[in-house]
Symmetry: C2
Amino acid sequence: MVPFKNSLPMQLYRALDAVMPAYRALFAAHNLTEPQWRVLRVVWECQKTTPHMVSGATPLHVSEATLISAQSLVGIVDRMVAKGLLTRLRSVDDRRMVYLLPTPKARALAETVLPKVDAIRADIADRLTEAEWETLGALLSKAGGTKPNEKTQVENERTAG
Amino acid sequence: MVPFKNSLPMQLYRALDAVMPAYRALFAAHNLTEPQWRVLRVVWECQKTTPHMVSGATPLHVSEATLISAQSLVGIVDRMVAKGLLTRLRSVDDRRMVYLLPTPKARALAETVLPKVDAIRADIADRLTEAEWETLGALLSKAGGTKPNEKTQVENERTAG
DNA sequence: GCAATTTAATTCATACATGAAATATTATCA
DNA sequence: TGATAATATTTCATGTATGAATTAAATTGC
């Protein structure tokens, strides 16, 4: 029987434990939690890539892109709205729908934090070669039951939305 | 800039999202949460591997082995005690110390669940070859900045902080 | 020998995760 | 057309994570 600490979940959790503190410290320095950053990043990306297609940033889309459940998202967005980072806009066409929009403050914040996030990423990137990163990514998705070339759920939703 | 979804954290979270539901469903079927299972497993292992060395199962040890912070562990252990799975025993030598002991009920539970956990693991194991698993493990620890025989993050955090 | 520090466990406040269920709205089809 | 199903979001209850502070006991320095 595989020792507990060599199990796939524990190896994954350990890897996360190793890389996340640096990111979280950065986010905390900007009064953001990690989930809040993920939401901000996705909402910001949606605005940037499709400036006129506000419909991209529905809670469902953000939920899928961030791997944050819809229920969790409610509270996260609540707090971000309270902090003046997001606004909720209910659709007139389909009043079940809500659009999440970044405020100017949020956009500025994203543009401040993104380079620093990338700096951390670049630092971590040095630990492996290009080829190794590629192998790791492929093995991770394979271990997760997703064939390398197969589209992920998030991707499908993305292209669909 | 690396797309958000191809970042190491998101790849790790996706892999966890892919493998954990099966485990969590099993744990839930036995009225356990995932952290509770981790604690149970470690406490049970300590008992099993060193039957007379009760001192192995201190909260600190469990915290390090499970990657659960000491504060979180308090509540988790509280609930497990309430469910009759653990008993807390305070040391007479050093009254700051507590030993966590599995009840007979907990031991029976562990022996019921462990084979099922291993069945899930075996199922997942088929997705990669032996060599690939080894590569994945090596790359994960390398990506985490930990050389194979180096101490874990939790330990480092402690000694560093 | 005792003040200062360290250590182990815990508490507290805030934030997040999860399954189940509720709410409101729109789509389906017999 | 009107009951029913599906969809998007939210609420609720319970459990967990995290940083900061607390308590109690043990160790160290002087």
